[in-house]
């Protein structure tokens, strides 16, 4: 039976269709989950939170989305140890929901940045890096205004020791601490990254390294 993937959709989410097509291209089922509705953990195998400007990025990126009914269900889903992937704004939402350590601040140059980045896989022991190996280099595009990963030094030390640093930038575009591009929670079931794997499915897109995630 194919995997059933739930895709939360907030007001202002704008990578929902891209992520849905990506997931369906793998033969998985994809279902949108409206932000005002709850869902049952048992109905889904994975949750993928797509990028965008949820709730207009008002207050702080991801802050309003993190407090919606659908995220209560995502919390339950996470507590059951089931896999969750956050991309870009999905990363920001998972941090705001405190499912992941740290926060994402405005880029150091105070501008939106869209460009290709080479990343290094630091830890490949989570459900979304089964096809990756540690220290592998992959190429993905970033597109964000608030991607500067920040956590206090104690937290950084801790996530480093626990192997929670998933991906790092080879050249730091936004001022992220420890060049962090993606992290996981301690149990490694909640994973998120700022770059967009769904925009790197085929060579014609510029890279097919996004295929390593699913």
């Amino acid at each position: 039976m194919s995997l059933n993937v739930g895709i939360p959709r907030f007001l202002g989410t704008n990578c929902d269709e891209d992520v849905k097509r990506w997931i369906e291209s793998k033969g998985f089922r994809a279902t949108y989950l409206w932000y005002e509705d709850r869902f049952e953990s048992k109905d889904f195998d994975w949750i993928v939170i797509p990028g965008g400007f949820s709730h207009g990025d008002y207050l702080r990126c991801g802050a309003l989305a993190a407090r919606t009914p659908v995220m209560k269900s995502v919390q339950e889903f996470a507590s059951k140890g089931k896999p969750i992937l956050g991309i870009c704004n999905g990363f920001q939402i998972l941090c705001e929901a405190q499912l992941l350590p740290g926060v994402l601040l405005q880029n150091k140059n105070l501008r939106f940045i869209d460009q290709w980045q080479t990343l290094t896989v630091q830890n490949a022991d989570n459900p979304f890096s089964k096809m990756m190996t540690t220290q592998q280099h992959i190429r993905l595009p970033i597109a964000h205004g608030d991607g500067q990963y920040y956590a206090d030094s104690e937290t950084l030390q801790k996530i480093n020791n626990n192997g929670q640093i998933w991906l790092t930038y080879d050249e730091n575009p936004n001022g992220s601490a420890l060049n962090i591009a993606g992290v996981t929670n301690e149990k490694k079931n909640v994973c998120a990254l700022m770059p967009h794997p769904e925009r790197a499915q085929f060579e014609w897109m510029g890279s097919s390294d996004g295929e390593l995630f699913l």
């Binding site: 007001l11 202002g12 704008n14 990578c15 269709e17 891209d18 097509r21 990506w22 990028g51 965008g52 400007f53 709730h55 207009g56 990025d57 008002y58 501008r111 939106f112 940045i113 869209d114 460009q115 595009p141 597109a143 205004g145 967009h196 769904e198 925009r199 499915q201 060579e203 014609w204 897109m205």
Partner: protein, 727 residues
């Protein structure tokens, strides 16, 4: 003339003759509401009164372009059940006054023109003209415009995939900000129209609340600037891309559910233009109560409400039985909706303020009877044409290149396009780093190409030549990537049309564009005219910006614009159309002369270039990159192709290419790089055997070196960093 009348003519920007016409049409002295309506809808911006007679020259259509006259954007049938809607529009005046909001709302406005037709916007582009980078406010304007475009476009989730940035001191006091958007219709996706119908159907307002922003915006955009442009700030609209994103989703959803009869965005002149145009097109009347308009500020007068250009608002017509489902859908997307009134068979627009009748007039009196002017102009006469072109004398190329860097004439503009989300939608194959953008079409998998054109320096040299080039050059760039031009939108930015020399530029440009579009079989299907780009008697250069869509069979294997590896051969294919030293002269702010081969078959050559791409794939010719030779000739084009650690050396054979020729503009020549010189040259010679082209090796790619000639040697790292320097 009474002082009241002269005061009104000034406030409402109407001429004495227009006032007389208005009075005759109405049959009475206009009241204040009527002054407002006529002022807005008879403004140049809304009525095209100076241009309409000439825009008829764009009547050419082919089997791919259904006649959509009067709709918000042009439509191209791509086959396989796929269609696109696209259009380009100016937001010059607001952007000069307040660059961030001006540019942002320019993007918002053009997006609404697209999704109001039921198409999902999938690509955006922009065409920008700035003045001398050291001119007052210019850096602030540039940064602001880029920020406005990026903040709005990124948030709504439409990738900005291509653009062009020009510089000329004649834009110092009047920058140009033109935005283009392309929307996609998949098979069986419904197209929405803007003609109201069905007596008793409801007129529904949706989207953001109405505020005071942009009141009189349309008539502001139809006048020249004086010293006091700062005081016009309150006329500039404020945009919220988050609202726009919600509006896109909600509008597409109500269309999909078949809940609307007609739909129109509230653009220039807001509620006035949308209601009058919808009723006029549908040959019906409306009764509307302005008290029902959702307001941000309850003290707004009916005049304010009619003329507000608050953003992110739409007017819909729906059947009464569909209203509750329609309102539910908008509520789901957290948007306001309000019934303002209904459609009536009596062909009058009756505007109410509660119980009070403000006006009751036939919409055609305003829309169809708008004035038209046949402004005086002269037939075009190219003064810059010569028999034999003289190379500029005693040129220090090294210092010219430094100057070109300093004035942004040589810049990769990464600092601009890196602020745009170029890949949201996951359709992007090539974007801003390439001369032509390509997006993969969802249903057929083919590549939709998008490019913009119009090179200011050529327009300054000769408006007719420049306008031909504005069409041919993007088509040529597409052809080199294997895409065929399908259709054109334009944004005709000109100075004051009441001046015959400006009107002459306009007519020459329109005729050149129309002729080139026929040659390429790519009809001009939508567009916009922006006149009065004039400040204190100084007019901008004629600037007919072109947006072009094209088609490629697939998005695989599109050749890049950059050198790929060292030790490859650089081959030039030189076409003999037009030669000048525009790039060199423009650095010195001199107008160029040119020589033209009037027998050159440009459209035929473009077609042959397009066929080259499939053929080199089929015959496995190891071409690694391809690029049109732009202004500044071979040398400047090679500079633009530098990438990573790969530079170039053109110094091999100076006997064949004299130094002055290295910087000569050659329209339309191109460069390819290859790993197999003999095979590529014989392939190219065979392919172009019916064209008088010169094909030869002109240099090689090398690691970390830039040798333009034996004498002009640039430091690799410094040059690259200059190139990539941003604001």
């Amino acid at each position: 003339m009474s002082s009241d009348l002269s005061q009104n003519l000034k406030i409402y920007r109407l001429s004495m003759e227009e006032y007389e016409k208005m009075k005759t049409l109405l049959g009475h002295e206009p009241n204040v509401i009527e002054w407002c309506l006529f002022s807005a809808l008879w403004s140049e911006h809304c009525s095209y009164k100076s241009s309409k007679n000439h825009l008829r020259k764009f009547s050419f259509r082919n089997s791919n372009t259904p006649d959509m006259d009067g709709e918000n954007a042009g439509v191209v049938d791509l086959g396989y059940g796929e269609k696109i809607a696209f259009k380009m529009e100016s937001h010059n005046h607001p952007s000069f006054i307040e660059p961030v909001q001006g540019a942002a709302t320019g993007v918002g406005g053009i997006l609404r023109d697209i999704f109001t037709m039921g198409a999902r916007p999938i690509m955006s582009a922009n065409y920008l003209c700035f003045g001398d980078i050291e001119a007052p406010r210019m850096k602030h304007l540039m940064k602001g415009v880029v920020k406005g475009i990026s903040s709005y476009g990124n948030c709504v989730g439409v990738p900005t995939v291509t653009g062009q940035t020009n510089f000329h001191p004649l834009y110092n006091k009047n920058i140009l900000v033109n935005a283009l958007s392309v929307g996609y219709f998949g098979p069986e996706q419904r197209m929405a129209l803007s003609n109201a119908s069905g007596s008793g159907n409801l007129v529904v307002y949706v989207g953001a609340k109405t505020g005071r922003d942009g009141v009189h915006g349309a008539s502001m955009a139809s006048a020249s600037f004086d010293d006091d442009s700062e005081s016009k700030k309150p006329n500039v609209q404020i945009g919220d891309p988050f609202y726009e994103k919600l509006l896109i989703e909600a509008c597409l959803e109500v269309l999909e559910k078949n809940l609307v009869v007609a739909m129109q965005d509230m653009g220039a002149a807001g509620l006035t233009s949308s209601s009058f145009e919808m009723s006029s097109k549908g040959q019906v009347g409306f009764i509307l109560d302005l008290k029902k308009v959702p307001l941000r500020d309850s003290s707004m007068t009916p005049e304010d409400i009619l003329l507000s250009e608050s953003q992110e608002r739409m007017l819909l017509i729906c059947k009464p039985e569909k209203l509750s489902e329609l309102q539910e859908t908008f509520k789901k997307w957290s948007l306001d909706s309000a019934v303002l009134g209904e459609v009536q068979s009596d062909r009058k627009v009756k505007l109410m303020w509660g119980e009070e009748v403000l006006t009751n007039i036939d919409p055609d009196l305003i829309v169809e009877e708008a004035p038209r002017y046949d402004r005086p102009y002269q037939p075009w006469n190219s003064l810059q044409k010569t028999q034999a072109l003289q190379a500029p004398e005693k040129i220090n190329f090294q210092s010219l290149i430094e100057k070109a860097f300093k004035t942004s004439k040589l810049n990769r503009f990464q600092w601009i396009y890196n602020q745009y989300d170029q890949r949201v939608g996951a359709r992007t194959a090539t974007a801003c780093e390439s001369a032509v953008a390509h997006a993969r079409l969802d249903h057929s998998g083919r590549g939709l190409a998008l490019a913009v054109g119009c090179r200011t320096d050529l327009m300054v040299m000769d408006a007719q030549i420049g306008a031909f080039d504005a069409v041919y050059y993007p088509a040529f760039q597409m052809a080199l990537k294997g895409s065929v031009a399908l259709s054109i939108t334009d944004c005709l930015n000109f100075g004051n049309p009441q001046k015959p020399e400006i009107m002459s530029q306009f007519v020459a440009s329109v005729e050149a564009i129309a002729s080139a579009s026929v040659q390429l079989n790519a009809p001009v299907i939508s567009g916009n005219v922006s006149f009065y780009n004039e400040t204190l008697d100084e007019n901008i250069p004629p600037t007919p910006a072109i947006g072009m869509v094209g088609m490629r069979d697939s998005v695989e294997d599109i050749l890049p614009d950059y050198f790929q590896a060292p030790m490859e051969y650089i081959v030039r294919v030189k076409m003999d159309w037009l030669q000048s030293y525009t790039w060199l002269n423009s650095l010195e702010q001199k107008v160029s002369q040119f020589t033209e081969n009037t027998h050159a078959d440009i459209a035929g050559f473009i077609k042959q270039c397009q066929a080259l791409d499939q053929k080199r794939q089929a015959e496995l010719i190891p071409i690694t990159s391809i690029k049109a030779i732009g202004l500044g000739g071979l040398a400047v084009t090679c500079l633009k192709m530098v990438q990573g650690n790969v530079g170039f050396d053109l110094s091999f054979d100076t006997s064949l290419i004299p130094e002055s020729e290295l910087f000569r503009d050659e329209l339309y020549s191109f460069i390819v790089t290859t790993t197999d010189l003999d095979l590529t040259i014989s392939f190219l010679k065979k392919h172009f055997k019916n064209f008088p082209v010169d094909i030869r090796k002109v240099g090689e790619t090398v690691t970390e070196k830039i040798h333009i000639s034996k004498k002009i040697i640039l430091d690799f790292k410094t040059t690259k960093s200059q190139f990539e320097k941003g604001l």
